[in-house]
């Protein structure tokens, strides 16, 4: 089935004209039309526009001239602003919001020729690890519809795994790309902070938001980074560093590389299946001639605490603009200004957004700032230093993405603290601003498991090199879910 090509393979077929763009997009439309009822991966579908665009490209001739993503179906997480297309961040308060501009990354994909199939469900404002915090209802895991697909980029994970698109964008603030990639058995790229523009993406935690993607292969993710990375004049935190030819690192030998295994990542409570799969992955690397070395990231245990102070603090400020004055949900019947603020925000925000606003407002209050926010930032520096020290000894780090297998919908929804622990192995990477790549590494109980390869800041190339070598050796990425039919079987 064509829908299970990787982006790279599909591109080859398009370039060789073995496949027309219309055929490819029609296939995507058919797939989405069958899977969407089961998965709820989308908030907004743009299939008609996609078919029109496909026909236009076919009329114009060859995809090669159009760009590296010419004719490729893509889904945008619904916190990416898309000009003229509703962008909700899966929140009621932006339920009817239509942006007047594109996010830089959307522009770059469009310029490269990608064709959007729609806007993808996620946890509202990307707050969550399971997709259940969407104000519009949860997305299901294509491997087992009773399970969560991981969050917050839940729709992105479900769409790519179920074959509706080769590529979906995501944002990773504490694990929101890597976790759904891992839970859905696909590849998830979280680039270095500053590598990809955040302009036009509904902000969550400005200091850790990373803009990446979910794909079906490592090489696809490398290509996506080539298209999106680089300085953006609209985002002062992007750096003016050369964008490497990441795809050309896919296929380079890994013999002689040193990969560190952070001992703190094998925490108490980590599930045996996860440990087993990770150990097998380590064996694969050894067989490829990679030196494996145990390393220590001693401040790992504080990362979650730091994250859940820094994040709500920035969230409380980033969500202040949703006040019902200029756009989005507004209680227009409110008798005065203050009640309009109160009512619009009370009714427009979900429980998790409110929880973070309250925690953050508290942590930033005068008299508490030093004890919480400032202290958290100091500890954050220690977390960063852990990575710097480790990377003096090793080229890359390898660890599981999640301490557990995907869990059932509803299982942790009522316990925010339990939910926060899903990110325990991904958060430190965000605090340090380094890149991480989630890769499928096996299955247990019919559910996918993922590992992550972590590189020093701006050294994504090395990460793709190692990720690709593993992927080619194991081929876990060629496994596809059957969606409800034969649940649990591969």
């Amino acid at each position: 089935m064509q829908r299970f090509f990787t982006l790279t393979e599909a591109r080859e077929k398009l370039v060789k004209k073995e496949l027309s763009v219309t055929q490819l997009i029609e296939e995507a439309v058919t797939t989405i039309n069958t899977t969407e009822k089961k998965l709820h991966a989308f908030n907004t579908l743009t299939l008609e526009q996609a078919l029109e665009k496909a026909a236009k490209i076919d009329r114009q001739g060859t995809v090669k001239d159009i760009g590296p993503m010419g004719g490729i179906p893509i889904g945008y997480k619904d916190n990416f602003c898309t000009k003229g297309v509703r962008t909700t961040a899966s929140s009621n308060i932006l339920g009817n919001y239509i942006p007047i501009y594109n996010a830089t990354v959307v522009d770059r994909y469009e310029k490269a020729g990608a064709i959007s199939v729609g806007k993808l469900n996620c946890d509202a404002f990307a707050h969550g690890s399971s997709g259940e915090n969407s104000d519009f209802g949860p997305t299901k895991n294509p491997w087992n519809l009773e399970y969560v697909p991981g969050g917050s980029s839940s729709g992105s994970g479900a769409l790519v795994a179920s074959g509706g698109a080769f590529l979906a964008t995501g944002t990773d603030t504490g694990g929101s790309i890597r976790l759904p990639a891992s839970f859905c058995g696909i590849v998830g790229l979280k680039p270095s902070y500053g590598r990809v523009s955040r302009y036009g993406i509904v902000a969550m935690t400005s200091s850790t938001d990373s803009i990446g993607c979910l794909t079906r292969s490592v090489k696809d993710a490398a290509l996506a980074l080539e298209v999106t990375a680089g300085k953006d004049i609209h985002d002062g935190t992007t750096v003016d560093k050369k964008v490497e030819s990441y795809t050309s690192f896919c296929g380079k030998p890994v013999k002689g590389m040193t990969i560190g295994i952070p001992k703190e990542y094998f925490v108490k409570g980590i599930e045996k299946e996860v440990v087993d799969a990770t150990e097998k992955a380590i064996e694969v690397y050894k067989s490829l001639g990679v030196k494996i070395k145990e390393v220590s990231l001693p401040h790992t245990e504080y990362a979650t605490a730091v994250y859940y102070i820094v994040t709500p603090s920035e969230v409380s400020s980033n969500l202040a603009r949703y006040d019902g004055v200029r756009y989005g949900y507004s209680d227009t019947e409110a008798p005065d200004m203050l009640s309009r603020y109160f009512n619009s925000r009370r009714d427009g925000f979900g429980a998790e957004a409110k929880r973070r606003i309250m925690i953050g407002t508290y942590a930033l209050s005068s008299g508490y700032y030093d004890a919480y926010y400032k202290k958290a930032q100091q500890v954050r520096t220690l977390v960063c230093d852990d990575f710097k020290k480790a990377f003096q000894k090793v080229d890359l780090l390898l660890a599981p993405v999640s301490p557990t297998l995907p869990f059932k919908i509803g299982e942790k929804a009522s316990d925010p603290l339990q939910m926060y622990l899903s990110d325990i192995l991904t958060i430190a990477v965000n605090l340090a601003g380094v890149p991480g790549l989630a890769i499928p590494c096996g299955f247990a109980k019919g559910l996918p498991i993922g590992i992550q390869v972590i590189a020093p800041q701006f050294e994504e190339a090395k990460m793709f090199q190692a990720g690709y070598a593993y992927e080619q050796e194991t081929k876990w990425h060629t496994m596809h879910p059957t969606l409800g039919e034969n649940n649990g079987k591969k």
Partner: protein
């Protein structure tokens, strides 16, 4: 009864200056918002749309640093922006990007030139960079009272200058603001117009018994929209606080507004109600690092400022303090003056001081008079420095009289005609020939027998009167020296 104590006033000012950059502080929208159609200078950034990010305007930061250097501050090599969080409909992001604990400049002073010519140093605590808010327009639409938001001003660069509580009277506060305006105008970083809101001021004021070291409870005064209203508001606040203190009542720490019509301050909010702004470092803008080279380059762009010019002009041309102050009020005025002096120096003999004083007299009595009457600025002047000098030379060489010269200058300023043209057009050449003036002198003697009698009785001072009449008779053209000689001769 206790005798009323004498109090001294302690004032500190917070001055906001809107910078005259082309684009806004964090986006590329035009910063020229004044008088424009509402909500036409906007983009996702200054409208606070989801996903928009701020990118700082380097030119604005340069201007802020310039003001810091001009006010003798220490400029921070490393600085950062912070978010000041509060809700208000004119603040689209729900926070203002400002600077909290690492302002661009700290610890400077402004040498305040007082009316008596003495100089008092007013400490500058800090100068920081921030962005302006939008504006609320309260209006009636379809018979309903509404508040509308105009975001044209949202994101326009502002700097805030905070002074030490070194100001001791409303008069000094007004002078401080006027001299701040002069500085920003000299630096060409702002038009400094209070009426347009380009210069805004909040004042902190407290009283304490004379001689006390401890500061009294301070009150913050807002919404003063002119130099005059700053002075009046502070005067009225002194009266209010003095009577409270005399009645042994407590001063409440609060923010008070100024009601121009009632000429009174009124309570706006107390300290307990004041917001907690929850400042934290702005994560969207990386910290700013200023290199030594950048700082040197900015320094090079700072012109000689008003106060320096004021001091130099006195020394160089022997001007009085009053004249030096007038001539340095604006950079253009000082430029005009010095250009004119240098033309005169080239065109005639004499010392720099003579030339300087001569030109100063003409400008202060002639040009300034015209500018004050018409409200025009020196920039709009039709007369070039060299043209003024042409006129001065005509007076010096006796072509026209001093009196006629003043007339000619006035005409030049209004019509753009040259001195030579006006002299010829109106036949204003001075008459120095004794034969032409004898008739006039005879006529004056004939028609004023009283005065002639007095003169002959030894009251020689009446000669001034007689010369005056003679000048009038000649329509100002007579050379008064020649007239005097003739009178002396004929009445002896």
């Amino acid at each position: 009864m206790v005798k009323n104590k004498e109090y001294e006033t302690v004032i500190g000012l917070e001055v906001h200056v809107e910078l005259a950059t082309k684009s806004k502080m964090f986006c590329s929208c035009s910063a020229d918002w004044f008088g424009e159609k509402p909500n036409t200078h906007n983009c996702p950034v200054c409208m606070g749309l989801p996903g928009a990010l701020p990118v700082p305007n380097g030119k604005a930061i340069e201007m802020c640093v310039k003001v810091g250097l001009a006010l003798n501050c220490t400029v921070a090599k490393e600085s950062k922006f912070d978010r000041k969080n509060y809700f208000y409909p004119d603040l689209p992001k729900g926070y203002q990007i400002s600077q909290f604990d690492q302002p661009l400049s700290v610890k400077g002073y402004l040498p305040l030139l007082l009316d008596d010519g003495t100089v008092k140093r007013i400490g500058i605590t800090r100068i920081h960079q921030e962005e302006d808010t939008g504006k609320l327009i309260h209006s009636v639409v379809d018979g309903k009272k509404v508040s509308l938001v105009d975001l044209n001003r949202s994101g326009v660069p502002l700097i805030e200058v905070v002074s030490e509580p070194d100001i001791s009277s409303p008069q000094e506060a007004k002078l401080f603001l006027q001299q701040m305006r002069q500085i920003v105008r000299y630096l060409e970083v702002s038009d400094g117009d209070m009426e347009k809101g380009s210069l805004r001021c909040d004042a902190n004021i407290s009283l304490r018994p004379k001689g006390d070291k401890k500061l009294g409870t301070k009150v913050e005064i807002k919404n003063m929209n002119s130099f005059r209203s700053v002075e009046r508001a502070l005067e009225s606040e002194i009266v209010r606080q003095t009577s409270l203190l005399n009645e042994e009542k407590k001063i409440v720490q609060e923010t008070r507004g100024w009601d121009e019509d009632k000429a009174k301050t009124f309570s706006q909010r107390s300290k307990e109600e004041s917001s907690d702004y929850r400042y934290f470092p702005e994560p969207d803008v990386p910290p700013m690092l200023l290199t030594e080279q950048q700082l040197t380059n900015i320094k090079k762009e700072i012109p000689e400022l008003g106060f320096e010019k004021y001091t130099r002009l006195q020394k160089e041309y022997g001007l009085s303090k009053k004249f030096a102050a007038i001539l340095t009020e604006s950079r253009n005025m000082a430029q005009f003056y010095e250009d004119a002096v240098s033309v005169l120096m080239k065109a005639s003999k004499g010392t720099k001081e003579q030339a300087g004083k001569d030109v100063a007299n003409w400008i202060v009595t002639g040009v300034m008079k015209y500018l004050n009457e018409t409200g025009a600025s020196i920039r709009e002047l039709l007369v070039e420095p060299a043209e003024l000098i042409e006129l001065i030379l005509f007076v010096r060489d006796g072509t026209v009289s001093q009196t006629a010269g003043a007339q000619i200058l006035d005409e030049m300023l209004r019509t753009d005609k040259s001195a030579r043209y006006i002299i010829e057009e109106k036949g204003l050449q001075q008459i120095s020939g004794t034969s032409e003036l004898e008739g006039i002198v005879d006529k004056v003697i004939r028609e004023h027998p009283e005065e002639v009698k007095k003169f002959k009785e030894g009251k020689t001072q009446v000669i001034g009167f007689l010369i005056g009449i003679g000048m009038k008779e000649s329509k100002g053209k007579a050379n008064p020296q020649v007239l005097k000689g003739l009178f002396d001769k004929k009445l002896k």
